[in-house]
């Protein structure tokens, strides 16, 4: 199945973009500048409030018409849609974790005469990251599932090849789709394992 490569490429692209957006948006939402803050809220709410499949179609079909921007390839549309969508979800995780770091930590850092930036980098952030880990793991699996949507805009991923195979031989449909499901599951297994690891890592050494 050659589709495996595309699926994995899209997955990796979306993971990178998703995490990047998550941190950028997560921090921007905590910004004191109202313009940055409200723009971020707008981005997060729009992407969280509509479905991924609609966003994907919109980016692929509507964006080129509206602004004359051609995204060049379905690759970019797929990665953008999945990355931006899950970035919005995960930015809430980032924000929540940062806010849930005990207030005393901020105060202690201020007392030690750290700058705002130092405070975040040295004190708050390292503690917040460990809280984000389990959720980030969950979203990895979510993103893997989401990559199956790119076959709808014509990308040749696993599902796309599965559809073609079915088209060639209709009676083979159960085998073909079952195989596709198994492929996804096999790809998900390391992610599930990773999620468990991350959960364990985030629990280690924390008094609860």
């Amino acid at each position: 199945m050659q589709g495996l490569r595309i699926t994995i490429e899209v997955l990796i692209g979306s993971i990178i973009l998703g995490y990047l957006m998550a941190f950028i948006a997560g921090f921007c939402r905590l910004s004191k500048n109202p313009i940055i803050k409200y723009m971020t809220i707008f981005y997060v709410e729009v992407f969280r409030g509509t479905s991924l499949i609609v966003q994907l179609f919109w980016l692929f079909y509507a964006l080129p018409i509206l602004f004359g921007i051609d995204l060049g390839s379905d690759y970019l549309a797929g990665i953008l849609a999945i990355g931006l969508n899950y970035g919005a979800y995960m930015s809430e995780v980032v924000r929540g974790s940062i806010l849930s770091v005990a207030k005393g930590q901020t105060e202690a850092a201020t007392a030690l005469n750290m700058s705002r930036f130092q405070r975040m980098r040295l004190v708050i952030f390292p503690q917040a990251v460990r809280m984000m880990l389990p959720e980030f793991g969950n979203y990895l699996i979510q993103m893997l599932k989401a990559t199956s949507l790119v076959s709808l805009i014509g990308m040749a991923d696993i599902l796309y090849y599965g559809d073609i195979l079915r088209g060639n031989n209709l009676s083979q449909a159960p085998t073909v789709y079952f195989l596709v499901l198994v492929f996804y599951f096999i790809m998900a297994l390391p992610l599930i394992w990773l999620t468990r690891k991350m959960e364990a890592a985030s629990k280690k050494g924390v008094a609860s």
Partner: protein, 245 residues
Amino acid sequence: MNTGNWQWDTFFEAFPLILEGLGITLGLTVATYLFALIFGFVWTLLSAVRIKPLRWLFRWIMEFIRSTPPLVQLFFIFFAWPMVPVVGFAMSPFISAIIGLGVHFSTYIGEVYRSGIEAVDKGQWEAARALNFSTGHKWSKIIIPQAIPPTIPMLGNYLIIMFKEIPLASTIGVAGILNLANSYGAANFRYLEPLTIVAILFLVLSYPSAILINKLERKMNRRFDKKEPTGSKSLSEEEKEGAVS
């Protein structure tokens, strides 16, 4: 007013057409949700079976359904199920969507129920036994009434999540809003306006309900936090898990 290639006539022409699909989209959401709520109980029961290898098997099946894409499952139900020997039969797109998406989400909902049941304080089980309650009574009078209410906000969240996954059904031909928008786009070579309408409809419907659920959650937390510190802790742990999808 120059707004690029945006055309208001197209917008107003497409809007009522797409709105017609809203009933189907909402109906499908409700039907799938009910299916998932009921089927979730089945998963909860199956994953608590006493025989160990069987329990393992069921948990793996749940994991399998949960970590594979709902879109592929939908295709499997719709295209492949009729071809399966002996048990296979063809279903309409609408029914296929209910079963495909319903089964997918029921695995999540089953976990929610399980977390609710596990969050019930141990003393309650002991008290039920001490008072010589029968199994049926124990569940109906003590465990279930305490297990389900704290999970209501989580269940509400899943309703919104599911609502956003429902347009997947358009791929197998259920005439929901996305499907109508696409066919309008194909007929008139205008995708921009119809797809934007769909996005707006989703936003308008899901954003207020998300706020509502949030409020409900806060209210519930206030109510249950004080009573059972142990129970609510493991619940909030599950909540993190529940926030997936």
